[in-house]
């Protein structure tokens, strides 16, 4: 498996650390349901998903990868810092 880091180009998956679904952190007072959803509940799609990876032994960038969980195709990868803005 190879991931196209926006900074380093295509790299082996072994350089990356996986975190999971790319979600927005709720406000501290968003309530129990919002926090439960952020931390625990997952769409867990069989298909396209947006998820966070960390180019740990590469450039150190957190990236948002668009990936298909059925085929492992990865049509997109952007810097998390830019995606978050």
């Amino acid at each position: 498996m190879r991931i196209s880091c926006p900074i380093c180009g295509e790299r082996d998956r072994r350089e990356f650390h996986y975190r999971g679904a790319a979600l927005t952190r709720p406000a501290p007072d968003a309530g129990e349901a919002a926090w439960d959803a952020y931390l625990h509940l997952r769409d867990n799609p069989a298909g396209a998903t947006r998820e966070l990876w960390y180019h740990e032994t590469g450039c150190g960038a957190w990236v948002v990868v668009t990936r298909n969980t059925l085929t492992h195709e990865m049509p997109g990868c952007e810097l998390a810092a830019e995606a978050a803005r």
Binding site: C8, R11, D12, E15, H55, T57, G58, C59
Partner: protein
Amino acid sequence: MAELIARTPCAGLLPLAVGGVDLTEESLGALTTLSPRRGQEAALSEALEAAHGMAFPAPNRTTGKAGARAIWFGRGQALLAGPEPDADLARLAALSDQSDAWAVVRLRGAGAVDVLARLVPLDLRAAAFRRGHTARSELAQMMASITRLGADDFQIMVFRSMAATLVGELKTAMEAVAARG
């Protein structure tokens, strides 16, 4: 009066020559990571040019030359290798002294690419990874900075504490490449 004695990371481990490949320890001088402050990327590059004669490197590239080189070192970061950083740079970037943090070795000779191909998951083909190119990657599970200095000439950096593992892994690969003839 007593004096503290400096010891290099690979002291007692190198040099090493196997087959046509040499492995030596490099002393690059001062090593300083430069992390530009927000919005100061261009100014930092200019200041770096003015003070040390090289621009801030683009991702996966180096600037400068032997003795004074800026090596791209990860997202938003370069490693100034050689001179002590000009004090002016601190206005534009966070500076961290890393002069003692890295074991730096040089792998040279026909077969150097084959040796690295046993340890590093990088595309090292000449067209993809040219002289002056650099990469942050891993070498046998160790975070590494790898720079191509010539056709069969690479600079490899890993954390100082792993110097012995680095040399051990390279030596094994050098022997295996040499044994194939």
